[in-house]
């Protein structure tokens, strides 16, 4: 017969509320990202680069630039952030923090959602701000900028979240990698197509609500469904 358990060991000793746990994870990821001064501006620099490279590449006749640059610039940037997704969970899986998430007694879904939010704040949000600027720099009319902003913002939300599923899947996977990165496309290609269209329409001054609504639908789908799927995938890949 063993000694009775003292307070600290009794079940249901004060547990951290789910929301606070998620906030802690979010805070952690942001802190990791901004560990060093200057990383804050990095997405912006990246954008500046893409924006300067493109005019360099094509014969810089302003007329053509206006037509093509904005779309390409942010499509490329969104894709860059999408590729960043593949490494969303890699590091955590490697150093064992993901395991600790899984046995923390907190809902893994919530914690992963927090990670996705962090990812969006770090990649999507800057894009949403820079997107309009670059479009403008490449000659899009002022009136188009709100449209560009909205489409990039909503589109990047959808990408960050839907992309997290693929990220979780590619965690465990070594052999059937091709299949999976292809599986990843169905999520992302529609986002990119609608996003590009919305931007284009905004620049041309046409009504772009339809495209943005489609993006919004995908974003909502992502927020509600993706973390669940990601959590399931992560648990499997940890085994």
């Amino acid at each position: 017969m063993s000694t009775p358990a003292p307070a600290a060991l009794i079940p249901g000793h004060p547990r951290t509320p789910a929301l606070r746990a998620a906030r802690l994870v979010l805070g952690r990821d942001l802190r990791l990202a901004f560990r060093r001064p200057g990383e804050l501006v990095q997405p912006l620099i990246f954008f500046a680069i893409v924006a300067t490279l493109f005019p360099l590449a094509i014969t810089p006749e302003k007329s053509q630039l206006v037509l093509v640059a904005p779309g390409v610039v942010w499509v490329a940037a969104l894709l860059a952030s999408l590729l960043a997704l593949e490494f969303l969970y890699r590091e955590d899986a490697h150093d064992g923090s993901l395991e600790q998430f899984a046995v923390s007694g907190q809902s893994l879904t919530g914690l992963l959602l927090a990670k996705s939010v962090a990812h969006w704040l770090l990649t999507g949000a800057p894009l949403a701000i820079m997107g309009p600027l670059t479009a403008w720099a490449d000659g899009a009319p002022m009136s188009a900028l709100p449209g560009v902003f909205i489409s990039v913002a909503v589109g990047s939300i959808a990408l960050s979240l839907l992309g997290s599923i693929g990220a979780a899947l590619t965690l465990g996977v070594r052999r059937s990698g091709v299949l999976l990165s292809v599986l990843n496309l169905p999520f992302t290609v529609p986002v990119l197509i609608f996003g590009a269209r919305a931007t284009q329409q905004a620049i041309q001054g046409v009504d772009y609500t339809a495209a943005v609504q489609l993006l919004g639908a995908m974003a909502i789908l992502g927020v509600t469904l993706a973390p669940l799927a990601a959590a399931a995938a992560v648990r499997i890949s940890l085994e």
Binding site: R36, P37, G38, E39, P55, L56, P60
Partner: protein, 246 residues
């Protein structure tokens, strides 16, 4: 023996004191030269027969532009010395160059494009020299970014030294870009080796004195920043305490 001065320059305390004494001299010489240059350039010398008054921006543009290259060379040489002979002070010098180089380059770009407005009818053109000057700016920024990103000073020093040395290749490219590509930009009219400059003396003198004014200004700034760098790097060393007490 001949190498003692070299070793002296390797010792932080010596360099710190040296810098302290030299700084005012550099500052005053810079002030004098630049004063003459500005007056001579903006007031005395005649308006250009084809460019009118607009050309006077030359007295700011050309020197800053030259300096942007000089500063990078200084940075690269200091880095190389530091890597080869393991001299901490040289690392400090290189570190001090980064921000100033960026500033000079930015000024060259700004004044240049300002001048481009009236001269070429456009403020910005994807002209080789302009592109590579822009690249130079990015190089300086990258250098500073890398420094900020590596937290251990000693490692940051040596990593950045490698970067600086490798990047020096862009300097000749900028300098000769005007010959290699038929470009909008002026070909060298002062810096031509051999043949005598294609520029009236009344314009040349102020221009040169502006240039050397900038050189000394850079020197003064460099020495000041160098002292700050040394203070922060050697904070644990004993000689610092003496300095602070004094």
């Amino acid at each position: 023996m001949a190498w003692t001065w070299f070793h002296k320059l390797g010792s932080p305390p010596y360099v710190y004191k040296l810098a302290a004494t030299l700084t005012p001299w550099f500052a005053w010489i810079a002030a004098a030269l630049m004063a003459y240059g500005l007056i001579g350039g903006l007031v005395i010398s005649p308006a250009d027969y084809q460019q009118g008054e607009g050309y006077r921006i030359l007295y700011v543009h050309a020197p800053t532009a030259w300096m942007s290259l000089q500063v990078y060379v200084v940075m690269a040489v200091a880095s190389a010395v530091a890597l080869i002979w393991r001299i901490k002070v040289a690392h400090a010098v290189a570190a001090a160059c980064g921000t100033m180089g960026a500033t000079f380059t930015a000024c060259a770009l700004a004044t240049g494009s300002l001048w481009g407005g009236p001269m070429w009818g456009t403020y910005w053109e994807w002209d080789p020299r302009i592109i590579f000057e822009l690249v130079l700016l990015v190089q300086f920024l990258g250098y500073m970014g890398l420094r900020a990103a590596v937290d251990d000073t000693q490692r940051a020093d040596r990593i950045c030294a490698v970067l600086a040395v490798v990047g020096v290749i862009n300097v000749p490219i900028i300098h000769y870009s005007v010959e290699w590509w038929n470009s909008l930009h002026q070909t060298a009219s002062v810096m031509k080796l051999g043949s005598k400059p294609t520029m009236p003396l009344s314009m040349l003198m102020p221009l040169l004195s502006m240039f050397f004014g900038y050189v000394f200004l850079f020197g003064a700034l460099l020495l000041t920043r160098l002292r700050a760098e040394l203070l922060s790097r050697e904070r644990s060393a004993s000689w610092i305490r003496d300095v602070v007490r004094a």
